[in-house]
């Protein structure tokens, strides 16, 4: 008897349900291996609910708390939330507390909390980032998180899988961000239909873990529940560096003949740098369509755009020119750890020498927080994931999304620019 062919998503959910097989569309109750919360949607909102239910967290070893949204605390309300967060962590006896270390989606794997086969929920919409590690990870709101913390379980409708295959190999100065902007443009913000999106193909296998994280992260913009990449040696190596045994990664892949809802194939080799114009990531097209547009601000930040590798990409371009007059460059490295490594590699000096303002390791203006929010009519090019109207500041401001290469090139040019103008490798 041959086993029924299954998708990676089905295998991960079946494990969390303690079953051999789960079928698309059935509603199941899964046991949660790990729950991550941050300061904005975390203790401040779950504590009152847990108090009302008369419950503590179901397993303090399975809860990770990370402060990143209201960091650094800019006003009394934010300070009160940070204090509440620290007090709650202490009262619950939670050891995994990463306070002001960086953005949760980057810090979680960096601190070794993720591995293939896990079933994880995060109190943030970019939680699909964890799918880069072959974990079933998705975002939920605070009330639902309180339910998970009280019970250790969550319901879900077993998704279909949308398989997105990238064949060939990315050109120089083209990155995972460009892949995702292209997908948003092609499939739309609801192209993921709240199903499991799985990325595969030779161009995906060639991506580093942080690039896979960018890919999985922006599954949120595609409207998928999760964005999965089957774990492999690159995954195992990343985990090994953090002292974690990835286990048998070979079991976590979609069987060749498993039925999928849709399969889309894209050629990585012909992909050009992409830009998404205001006010939607789906407004994407090749950078050439936008090249005459002047910019006031270039922002290198966020979980999807300021990890170590993103900083390396931006610096490789900034080394080749000077910041245009009248352009303000802001860099908010995604984690303290990545900033430290970037400093050791000389990358932070590249930004400083270019006249960049270095901002804290936090969500910052990507989530509409902090004092650097965009003013009236400001035009910004940004490595972030979302450019909804008013998200990063004034409703009259406009945000163009692009890769770290393209944002750096635009900072030099003073207008949206193709990074390939600055050609050659780093």
């Amino acid at each position: 008897m041959t086993a029924k062919p299954l998708t990676l998503a089905q295998k991960l959910i079946a494990k969390a349900c303690g079953r051999e097989v789960v079928n698309p569309s059935e509603i199941v109750i899964a046991r949660v291996d790990l729950a991550m919360v941050h300061d904005s949607g975390g203790p401040r909102r779950v504590k009152p609910i847990l108090d009302r239910l008369g419950r503590k967290v179901w397993d303090r070893a399975r809860v990770v708390v990370i402060t990143d949204h209201l960091v650094p605390a800019a006003d009394d309300q934010s300070r009160a939330i940070q204090t509440l967060t620290r007090d709650w962590v202490a009262s619950e006896g939670i050891d995994a507390f990463h306070d002001q270390m960086g953005i949760c989606h980057v810090v979680l794997p960096e601190q070794g909390h993720l591995k293939p086969g896990m079933f994880v929920v995060g109190g943030d919409s970019h939680s699909p980032t964890g799918g880069a590690f072959g974990a079933y990870m998705f975002g939920i709101g605070a009330t639902e998180m309180a339910g998970v913390l009280a019970t250790g379980e969550i319901w879900l409708k077993v998704p279909e899988t949308i398989l997105i295959e990238w064949i060939g190999r990315l050109s120089e100065m083209v990155s995972a961000k460009d892949m995702m902007l292209r997908l948003c443009g092609e499939l739309g913000l609801d192209g993921g239909k709240y199903q499991a999106v799985e990325y595969a193909g030779s161009a995906i296998s060639a991506l580093s873990m942080q690039e896979r994280m960018t890919l999985a992260n922006m599954t949120a913009e595609l409207g998928g529940q999760v964005g999965l990449v089957a774990p492999d040696n690159i995954t195992a190596d990343y985990l090994h560096e953090r002292g974690i045994d990835a286990g048998d990664t070979g079991q976590w892949r979609t069987d060749a003949d498993a039925p999928v809802m849709a399969r889309h194939t894209f050629d990585a080799g012909s992909l050009e740098p992409q830009v998404a114009a205001p006010h939607s990531p789906a407004n994407a097209g090749p950078v050439g369509n936008y090249e005459s547009i002047p910019v006031d601000v270039a922002y290198i930040g966020a979980c999807t755009g300021a990890k170590l590798e993103d900083l390396r990409m931006a610096a490789s371009v900034l080394r080749k020119g000077r910041l245009a007059p009248n352009v303000k460059l802001m860099v908010a490295p995604a984690s303290r750890h990545d900033q430290k490594t970037a400093a050791e590699e000389g990358i932070m000096s590249v930004f400083e020498n270019a006249g960049a303002e270095i901002l804290p390791n936090a969500c910052g203006i990507c989530a509409g927080y902090g004092s650097s929010r965009l003013g009236e009519n400001i035009r910004c090019i940004s490595t972030t994931a979302r450019n909804f109207r008013g998200r990063m500041g004034a409703a009259s401001s406009s945000v163009y999304l692009a890769s770290p290469y393209t944002v750096a090139a635009s900072a030099i040019a003073g207008r949206i620019a193709d990074p390939r103008e600055f050609g050659g490798s780093m």
Binding site: I27, L53, L70, S125, I140, S280, G368, Y369, R389
Partner: protein, 166 residues
């Protein structure tokens, strides 16, 4: 049948940043709600009345997991949202906060400003002046049970009380 609900009609991809703008996220819900949807429809928060219905196109609630996007609409008196489709996290948040969300393939037929009456159980939306009701997809029983309890917290309170009793 009393048609007491005014329909407020929006387009596709209404996102959580316009529903609950980031800059007001640390403020009390009354303040946040006053800015709900102001970037796409400035008069909405001040004009919407208790019992009204929000209708929209595809992917309503795209973006963030912030459930204040649901909370703000509830606070302003919205009793149901009818849309072609919903973003996944928003949909879950609405159920968890006890706000009925109904998918409706015919959402294009709903005109802004029309008066209507919604039967949440059957998903039938009767619009004043229409002969036939617009059919929405009924909410699955599993989720209706949470809404019927007023949201997940009360639902869990009942469950825990049951566990203690048994």
């Amino acid at each position: 049948m009393v048609m007491s609900a005014r329909i407020w009609k929006f387009g596709d991809d209404i996102d959580t940043d316009v529903l609950a703008p980031g800059r007001y996220m640390t403020a009390p819900i009354a303040t946040l709600a006053a800015h709900c949807l102001e970037n796409v429809r400035p008069e909405f928060a001040a004009s919407v009345k208790q019992g009204d219905i929000v209708a929209a196109g595809a992917n309503f609630g795209a973006g963030s997991s912030r459930e204040q996007a649901v909370e703000a609409l509830k606070y302003l008196g919205v009793v149901a949202i009818v849309a072609k489709s919903f973003a996944g996290i928003f949909y879950r948040n609405a159920i968890n906060l006890g706000l009925p969300v109904l998918e409706c393939a015919e959402a294009d037929l709903l005109a802004d400003g029309s008066m209507a009456s919604l039967d949440i159980g059957s998903g039938k939306l009767q619009i004043a002046g229409h002969a036939e009701p617009v059919e929405c997809t009924p909410i699955p029983d599993f989720l209706m049970a949470i809404i019927a309890d007023g949201g997940l917290v009360t639902h869990l309170e009942k469950r825990f009380a049951g566990e203690t009793a048994s």
